[in-house]
């Protein structure tokens, strides 16, 4: 069976990746802020 990607799955893909991606970006940005003193301190 081919690995199709019907258009009606795009909103679901966007939503699910956003739900996990946004917290991950938040965590990453907070960590990078924590790293800054290593290079400035």
């Amino acid at each position: 069976m081919p690995d199709e990607n019907p258009p009606n799955q795009v909103p679901r893909l966007v939503l699910t990746w956003l739900v996990v991606g946004l917290p991950l970006i938040y965590g990453l940005s907070q960590t990078v802020r924590g790293v800054v003193p290593l290079f400035t301190g």
Binding site: M1, T31, G34
Partner: protein
Amino acid sequence: MPLSFLDREHTVAPPGFSRWLIPPAALAIHLCIGQVYATSVYKNALVAHFGSSLTAVGVIFSVAIVMLGLSAAVMGTWVERVGPRRAMFTAACFWGAGFLVGALGIATRQLWLVYLGYGLIGGIGLGIGYISPVSTLIKWFPDRPGLATGMAIMGFGGGAMVASPLSRQLMSLYDPAYDPADTASVASGGAVASLFVTLGIAYFAVMMLGVFTVKVPAPGWAPAGFDPSAVAARPMVSTAHVSAASAIRTPQFWLLWTVLFCNVTAGIGILEQAAPMIQDFFRQGGTSTVAAATAAGFVALLSLFNMLGRFVWSSTSDVIGRKPTYVMYLGGGMVLYLLLTVAGHTSTAVFVLVAVVILSFYGGGFATVPAYLRDLFGTYQVGAIHGRLLTAWSAAGIAGPLIINGFLDARGTPGELVAADYRPALLTMVGVLAVGFVANALVRPVASRFHEPVDDGGPVAAGATSPGVGPAAEPRTGPAAEQPATKE
């Protein structure tokens, strides 16, 4: 069975289902359970609230990690049988309930309830949750299993990154007197109880996204353009299946157990004492040239590379192969630990650079091992085998700190030492990595006597590289048919 929509047969993907929905489903689980590595955020608050010692509060984390290993080992076969959706749902219930029972323990000042809630109940959720998406990811990504499991297990590393700052902000919301920017500020017990309730509910909700998104591939499904023979032709990739019960009787399982144990033990050697270690390495005349804030930045950088290593190195293993990847983790780790011992004190740049690469190897070791197991034992019960292998993590969690703290305690107090005091511990880690290196070198394809019987028509033999689901795609019991070849 109640809640039958959770059953494996009700989660088979319809034609055209995008496999790229599976990684976020797995991430939804791992991002939540990764919170277990953010417990230091409220540790001091619990010590003050219960009027107990750091050790007594630390037991909460220890119980959770031990339960992670135990439940992953014991429940692995069940997870394989019921499928990812029921397993994820069960993990969400345990993890969420663990927080709520823990909150009750904090609110009523009953520390044993926190042990029972977060430690025991939550720990079961950790173990089931950790292994629940692994087998499914490998079946959806037969062409890139390292990338797929790397994404999920990266989420476990990322979970603490999300939970730490989020917890501080929530505690400051529940306790206005608490200042998250002030390291000396301690939140009230009530704020921590409220935090636990909030996290329990929020994590349950996010994990439900994974529950309702995850699906298993239909029998015979393969990604477009995927050539199973190309994967099967690679060195050290088996086309046979080995059950979890058989796997633990193979030398390969115990060699990989040793590999994981050594890699994790060595990584913990740095993680355990990261902040005082960088200050001690650059101490002259009793004063360190590295400030506390800089040391904290170093710890944050380590966690960043620990997370990135999971994704980057595990994905790389799809290209260079699993065994060479562990040669890099263990052999490269030995060189880097030696470099740290000999030249780590010469400049902070050298120290930081070497340490972050070591930590990236530590994270990579976790993320690459499911794909290594798939290569050796096939997809049949790879999740259950992975669960049993995770006991190496629990064992390393005890051995790593014991080794590093044992050596350092003999020299004085971390935070008041100098670089030379770390040499015995670091050189011991070189030895630990050497043991792992030898174990990895000894890994050979699994002997055919451990393989599961295959269907007469032979399609099951391709199951290791052509994913499937349900009985039709799994090895059947009965007289063994001709065994597929395994190569190195």
